[in-house]
C-alpha cells in the first residue's frame, strides 16, 4: 500500500504518468510543464514505461498526434501550459468532437501578452467550452490522484471524452511536498486495460472518422456530446469511490470545509484553497462563521450540488484566478452566480480576481475578503461586486 514521498508537483505528475504507462505520449516543452515530459522522457529512456514518445515540433502537433493515436486505439496522454494550450485550441474541440478520451495535464500558467510564465488559470479557463472534462488540483497529491482518475473518467462507458487536469504553475508544479504514492501494481490494476470501441487500426473494419457533417446531422452530434457530458458526473463519483477504496482519499466535485454551519463562504480553485482553509480555521477560532468550498470539477459544472452546498449562506466570495474581459466577473463567478440564481433565497455573491501571472495570494488578502463579507452581512449591501485583489490601482 503506497508510500510517502517528497516531490514537486511536476515529478508527482510524471510518476502518475509512469504508473499509468500510456501507449502514446506526444508533447512539446513549455514552462512550467516542461519538467513533466522531461522526467517522463527519462522513464522512456530507462525502459520504465512501454510508451511510444512522440517529441513533436509544436503543441498543435502534440494534440494532433494525440488525436491520431487515440483514434488509432489506445491510451494517450500529454502535458502543456498556457500558450501551448492556446495553440492547441483548434485541436481541443476536435479531440472532444471525435470522442477521444485523451488525458492531459495542464500546468496552469498565465497567457500572453505580456508574457508571464507563472501560475494562473487563464489557460484552462480559456478552454472551458472546448468539450473537455476539467479538473483542478490543490497540491501535488491531488494532481497525482486526479490524473490517475482522469483516465477512467474519460474512458467511462457513454462518456468517451478528453480530460484536462490543472495544477497551479510553479506554486504547486515546482514546490516539494509530501504525498502518498500508490504502488505501481495498484495503479495498473485500478486502470485495467483500455478497450477502444472503434479503433482505426482495425483495417478489417474500415472506419471513416472526422467526416464533413452538415446541417442535417451536426446538431444531433453536438447533442450527443452534451449527453456524454451529462454522464460525466456519475462517472466521476464512481471512479472516486473506487479510488477511495484503494487510496483512502475521497474526492467529489468539490470539497467543503466548515461550510455547513457557516454564514459566509469562499470558493477557490487550486492552490489558493489551502490558504483559504488556513484563514477559515483562524477566523473560526475567533468565532467568525466562515467556511470554504474548493471546486475540483469545473466541467461539467456541478450546479445542483453547489446549490445544495451554498444555498444557506448569507454571503459568498468567489475567487477567480483569471479574467474574463468584458464579462460580468471571472469565469467561476459567472458560473456560480448562474447556479445560485434559481434558489428562492441565495447568498449575496461577490467576485475577486486575484493572483494573475502568479501574484501571491496572502493570508491577509483572504482575511480582507472575509471582512468584506462581514460588512455585506451587516449592511445588507454590496459595495463592490467585482474586486481586483492585490492590484495597484
Amino acid at each position: 500500500m503506497g508510500k510517502i514521498v517528497a516531490m514537486t508537483g511536476n515529478i508527482a505528475v510524471a510518476n502518475a504518468m509512469r504508473q499509468i504507462n500510456p501507449d502514446v505520449c506526444a508533447a512539446y516543452p513549455i514552462t512550467p510543464s516542461t519538467e513533466v515530459m522531461q522526467q517522463f522522457s527519462n522513464f522512456v529512456a530507462d525502459g520504465k514505461v512501454d510508451t511510444e514518445l512522440v517529441t513533436v515540433e509544436s503543441e498543435h502537433s502534440a494534440m494532433s498526434a494525440c488525436i491520431g493515436s487515440s483514434a488509432a486505439g489506445g491510451r494517450v496522454m500529454t502535458a502543456t501550459s498556457a500558450n501551448g494550450l492556446a495553440l492547441m485550441w483548434e485541436m481541443l474541440y476536435i479531440a472532444s468532437g471525435n470522442r477521444l478520451p485523451i488525458a492531459m495535464m495542464v500546468i496552469n500558467r498565465a497567457l500572453s501578452a505580456p508574457i508571464n510564465i507563472h501560475g494562473d488559470h487563464s489557460d484552462e479557463m480559456g478552454a472551458r467550452d472546448a468539450g473537455w472534462i476539467q479538473m483542478y488540483s490543490e497540491n501535488g497529491q491531488e494532481a497525482y490522484d486526479n490524473l490517475i482518475q482522469a483516465i477512467l473518467i474519460g474512458e467511462s462507458e457513454g462518456v468517451l471524452l478528453p480530460v484536462m487536469v490543472g495544477m497551479d504553475g510553479f506554486i504547486i508544479s515546482h514546490s516539494i511536498e509530501n504525498l502518498s504514492m500508490l504502488d505501481d501494481q495498484q495503479v495498473k490494476d485500478f486502470l485495467g486495460e483500455y478497450k477502444p470501441l472503434h479503433p482505426l487500426l482495425n483495417v478489417n473494419k474500415p472506419l471513416t472518422m472526422g467526416p464533413l457533417d452538415l446541417q442535417d446531422y451536426y446538431s444531433e452530434h453536438k447533442r450527443q456530446q452534451t449527453e456524454a457530458m451529462e454522464l460525466v458526473k456519475p462517472a466521476i463519483l464512481k471512479v472516486a469511490k473506487d479510488f477511495a477504496a484503494l487510496s483512502g482519499r475521497t474526492y467529489g466535485f468539490f470539497e467543503t470545509h466548515r461550510l455547513d454551519d457557516a454564514e459566509m463562504g469562499i470558493i477557490a480553485l487550486g492552490s489558493a484553497a489551502g490558504t483559504a482553509r488556513h484563514v477559515v480555521d483562524g477566523l473560526r477560532e475567533k468565532g467568525i462563521k466562515v467556511g470554504m468550498l474548493k471546486l475540483r470539477v469545473f466541467r461539467p459544472f456541478p450546479s445542483e450540488e453547489l446549490q445544495q452546498a451554498l444555498g444557506h449562506l448569507k454571503s459568498l466570495a468567489v475567487m477567480d484566478r483569471s479574467e474574463s474581459f468584458g464579462a460580468a466577473g471571472g469565469p467561476v463567478f459567472s458560473e456560480v452566480r448562474s447556479a445560485l440564481y434559481d434558489l428562492p433565497t441565495r447568498p449575496k455573491t461577490i467576485n475577486y480576481i486575484y493572483g494573475l501571472g502568479g501574484r501571491d495570494l496572502g493570508i491577509a488578502n483572504i482575511e480582507q475578503v472575509v471582512a468584506d463579507l462581514q460588512e455585506i452581512n451587516q449592511t445588507g449591501k454590496i459595495k463592490n461586486l467585482i474586486t481586483h485583489l492585490t492590484v495597484r490601482e
Binding site: 512501454d50 509544436s58 494532433s64 488525436i67 491520431g68 493515436s69 487515440s70 472526422g210 467526416p211 452538415l214
Partner: protein
C-alpha cells in the same frame, strides 16, 4: 509492378459516387495511389476538396480506415496513428507481422503552406509513413486562392489579373526541394498521366521503412480554367514542358524518370489554361519569359545533378 490489366482487377478503395468535380485530377491521383497501396492502409487527409467531397456524413468513399482531423495536421495525425501502431505492436496487442501502410494526404495549401511545419516535424522524427501532396496549385476548396504552390503569373481569386498587378508575382515554392532537405529515404514527383510511374513510386515508397514523400500534380479544371476532360492531358503537358519534372531521390541519389525528347516551351502548357490568359497580352510577355527561365533553371539543375551523381 502491376500491369494495367492487373490493376483494373483490384478492389477500388476509393468508391465512386463521391462529390469531387467530374474530371478532378485529385480523385484520379488518390485512386491510383490506393490501387498500388492496397487495403492494409490507413489514410489521413487535410481539410480540402478531397476530404469534404469523399466523406460527407453519413456516406464515405473510403474503403480503408480514414481520418480527417484538421487542415494543417495530416502529417501529425498520421504520425500519431503510426506511433500507436508501433506501441501496440511492441506491447503485443497487434500482430507483429501485420504490415499497415500509413498515408497522409494533403493538397498544396495543406502541405506547402499551413501544414508545412507538421510535415517537417513528421519527416524529421522518422515516422514510417508516406505523405502525398496532391498539388493543384491553389486553395481550390475555398475558391481558388493563391498558395505558395501557385505558379508565377497565374490568376487566382487573391491574385487576380488586375489592371495594375497581372496575377501572382512570385515563383512557386519548390516543396520537393524543401522536403529533400530532411534527408528522408525516398521522395519523388509524379503525375497521374504516367500511371505506371506513379504506381511504381507508391509501391517503392511503401516498401521502404521511414518517412517518404510524393508530390503529385493534380490538375483542377475549376482553378486552372480548362475543359473538364483535360486533367490527364494537362498533367502530361506539365511534364513535357518540364514544369513538373518526374524524378525521384532515393537515399540522396537523384533519378530523373522521364526526359522529354523535345522539351516543349511553357507556352504549350499555359495556353491551355484560362488562369494564364492575361499573360499573352504584349505587356505581360516578360512574365512568361520569367516563368520559362525558372523552369529551365530547375530542369538544367536536375540534369546536371543527375550527371554529377553518376560520377560520385
Amino acid at each position: 509492378m502491376a500491369t494495367l490489366k492487373e490493376l483494373s482487377k483490384k478492389d477500388e478503395l476509393l468508391a465512386g459516387g463521391h462529390r469531387l468535380c467530374a474530371g478532378c485530377g485529385a480523385s484520379i491521383v488518390v485512386r491510383q495511389i490506393l490501387l498500388a497501396a492496397g487495403k492494409n492502409t490507413i489514410a489521413t487527409c487535410s481539410t480540402g476538396c478531397l476530404e469534404v467531397a469523399t466523406s460527407i456524413y453519413p456516406f464515405t468513399s473510403w474503403r480503408i480506415p480514414f481520418f480527417h482531423s484538421a487542415f494543417e495536421n495530416s502529417a501529425a495525425t498520421s504520425c500519431g496513428i503510426e506511433a500507436m501502431y508501433q506501441s501496440l505492436k511492441r506491447r503485443g496487442k497487434l500482430p507483429v507481422n501485420e504490415k499497415i501502410n500509413f498515408i497522409a494526404f494533403g493538397g498544396d495549401g495543406g502541405t506547402y503552406d499551413i501544414g508545412l511545419q507538421s510535415l517537417s516535424g513528421g519527416l524529421e522524427r522518422g515516422h514510417d509513413f508516406l505523405y502525398v501532396c496532391y498539388d493543384n496549385g491553389a486553395y481550390m476548396n475555398t475558391g481558388i486562392q493563391r498558395s505558395s504552390s501557385t505558379p508565377l503569373g497565374a490568376a487566382t481569386t487573391t491574385t487576380p489579373a488586375g489592371k495594375v498587378i497581372p496575377g501572382k508575382q512570385q515563383y512557386r515554392k519548390d516543396l520537393t526541394d524543401v522536403v529533400e532537405a530532411h534527408h528522408i529515404p525516398y521522395l519523388a514527383q509524379a503525375s497521374p498521366h504516367n500511371w505506371k510511374d506513379l504506381n511504381r513510386k507508391v509501391e517503392k515508397a511503401l516498401s521502404i521503412k521511414g518517412p517518404k514523400f510524393l508530390n503529385v500534380i493534380a490538375p483542377c479544371h475549376r482553378g486552372w480554367r480548362t475543359g473538364i476532360n483535360e486533367a490527364i492531358k494537362l498533367a502530361k503537358v506539365a511534364v513535357d514542358t518540364c514544369f513538373w519534372p518526374l524524378y525521384e531521390v532515393e537515399n540522396g541519389k537523384l533519378t530523373i524518370n522521364y526526359k522529354p525528347k523535345d522539351k516543349k516551351p511553357i507556352t504549350e502548357w499555359i495556353k491551355m489554361q484560362g488562369r494564364f490568359k492575361h499573360l499573352f497580352k504584349p505587356e505581360n510577355e516578360h512574365i512568361i519569359q520569367r516563368l520559362q527561365e525558372g523552369i529551365d533553371c530547375k530542369w538544367e539543375n536536375l540534369l546536371k545533378r543527375e550527371e554529377f551523381e553518376k560520377t560520385c
